[in-house]
Symmetry: C2
Subunit: 173 residues, 2 copies
Amino acid sequence: MAAASSDVPQDLHSEFLRNNADFAAKFEDGSLPLPPARQALVLACMDARLHPEKVLGIRIGACHCVRNAGGRASDDAIRSIAISQRLLGTKEVHIVHHTDCGMLTFTNDQIAAKIKTDLGVDVAGRDFLPFPDLDQSVRDDVAIVKASPLVAPGTVVHGYVYDVTTGKVRVVA
Amino acid sequence: MAAASSDVPQDLHSEFLRNNADFAAKFEDGSLPLPPARQALVLACMDARLHPEKVLGIRIGACHCVRNAGGRASDDAIRSIAISQRLLGTKEVHIVHHTDCGMLTFTNDQIAAKIKTDLGVDVAGRDFLPFPDLDQSVRDDVAIVKASPLVAPGTVVHGYVYDVTTGKVRVVA
């Protein structure tokens, strides 16, 4: 019954706390330093099917991980990269977008209309950073990071597309 | 030799591709739908020691995960939450900050000075969202999400602090 599962309180909060007690009971990484060991930052989509650490085999303490809707090189992602590079010594960026992304399914006008209808708020003109072409979105974000004045000149930036049906990443940039 | 490990090219790119081949060879989650199964979004810091999915026991496909420097409720995090709620059906937000966070170690003036020195760029006046009080930063971000006109009224928002030395989360809000 889909309706029931959606309407009944799920108490994910309590579940998270139980899961964390299990995690903490086996925890062995308590003395890792603040700077990422591999001096790298991963920028990925927030998609629930994409767990960047699993997909790329990233160990605890190895890499910063920034995520947002689309894995876009937004102004806020650049803020995070600048802090990561200037204060915590990272030197390269790996950008991961993915197939079947929600950002391929709407335009700014469409989400503005939905927000107006659902919440009564006018966000016309705001860019929610959707994209119509997956590979191009990766190339665009690689270019934005490389061109940002807040990113160290010469920073290596790699771009990937993750296939949510196969678990494989494909190099795009 | 720390200097050598920092200067020699590490080829993390090739390592990621090898790790991904191993991941894809055992991949079994290829038919999950786009909307997160648990109708929730986690907003967490980008810190390399914090893997939210491991810490909270989040399965592939279960929750959106947004991350940035500090796990802050930035304008871009609100963009992601709005897309998550309006288009993909999430209904609650779980915010995770952590002990020994880099955001506790600087002020906007200090990072602006460092960016000016290192990159020659003037970012005076820009807010990099550092914070002096960890618990208060969580409470602040919970309040920002709850008050945002782009977030559905009545959205449940939980706030946690993760202890990087013990692996335990503590409920703050």
